[in-house]
Symmetry: C2
Subunit: 162 residues, 2 copies
DNA sequence: GTCAGTGCAAACTTTTTGCAACTAC
DNA sequence: GTAGTTGCAAAAAGTTTGCACTGAC
């Protein structure tokens, strides 16, 4: 689907959501949705705030960002992650299901897809629970850090952990 | 394995870890490890602080709790989760692998086990990545909330979302 | 016209940091 | 003795809240 199509569709979904829940259709809310769907990958509130301040016609307050993102999560248009210290968000409509690899050393987050895994998770029998979505975080050492560690071992460099 | 055995074993693992990394073996550190291995399920720093203040011989500062828990995570004796607002921790030695169901409405976190799922995740081929551990969070509606919602619908009670 | 929504600043919560005192080694 | 560790308090970071103003309905 083309970017503009996606933006139109999510705007429509959002409109329906707002109507259904008796919320007002403010320009701020649509500007936020639009900006989020212009961002690839993860972002935090601060990044979103900067992007909107710099590139978009709208400047909205952080309070409004926090408020609106809750609506978007409920409308299933945004997913919230909790990596590292701050909350990270990402658009969720028309995105391929993906999983997350997180390097415990450098903190780098990489997405990957795996249909078998996806299938296994989505078809897990759950007792008294109605799955809507899920997050899989795989922790370990990324290739870069592993190589760096091996090199350091060879050179007998010992970085003390904090 | 018996509780006391587990405590002894983790103390030994921690000692080895501290030695290997040139850290001191302070009584605070062992008291924290011991307390953590007395707690079943998840806890946050504040809870741990209270438990130690109330029930244990040792009172340690929050700063020390934060410092020590990082060591314990690195020693693979504790796992960190990010549910809801604050970081949650749990002991990880000698625990069965489990996954987490999180109700998006009431926030309740339930653990469940599923060997097929566990196997599928652990045997996923990863490119340039060395898996050490993982967390799977499944979001949805728990049975209680689902029943409550149905009941509300029937009675035509409309709680507006915030 | 009304009240939900917004912006701003203050408050709050969780975590980190700086520093003096302490203690494991 | 010395440097790593601790406790405390202050600071930082992220998020929520109270309130007056604005604008969607």
């Amino acid at each position: 689907m083309e970017v503009q199509n996606v933006k139109d569709t999510v705007r429509q979904i959002f409109t329906e959501y707002l109507n259904a829940h008796g919320h007002r259709k403010t320009p701020e809310r649509y500007a936020i949705l639009d900006t989020i769907y212009s961002i690839d990958g993860h972002f935090d509130i601060d990044t979103l705030y900067s992007v909107m301040a710099d590139h978009e016609k709208f400047r909205v307050s952080r309070a409004t960002l926090y408020n609106t993102i809750i609506l978007l999560i409920n409308a299933r248009l945004v997913i919230k992650h909790l990596f590292g210290n701050s909350s990270q968000y990402e658009k969720s409509y028309n995105r391929d299901t993906h999983h997350h690899q997180i390097c415990t050393q450098c903190g780098k987050v990489t997405e990957f897809q795996n249909e078998d895994l996806q299938h296994a998770i989505e078809h897990t029998k759950l007792r008294r629970f109605n799955l809507t979505h899920y997050s899989l975080y795989i922790y370990g050492l990324c290739g870069k850090c592993e190589r760096a560690n091996k090199k350091n071992l060879k050179n007998n460099i010992h970085k003390k952990e904090k």
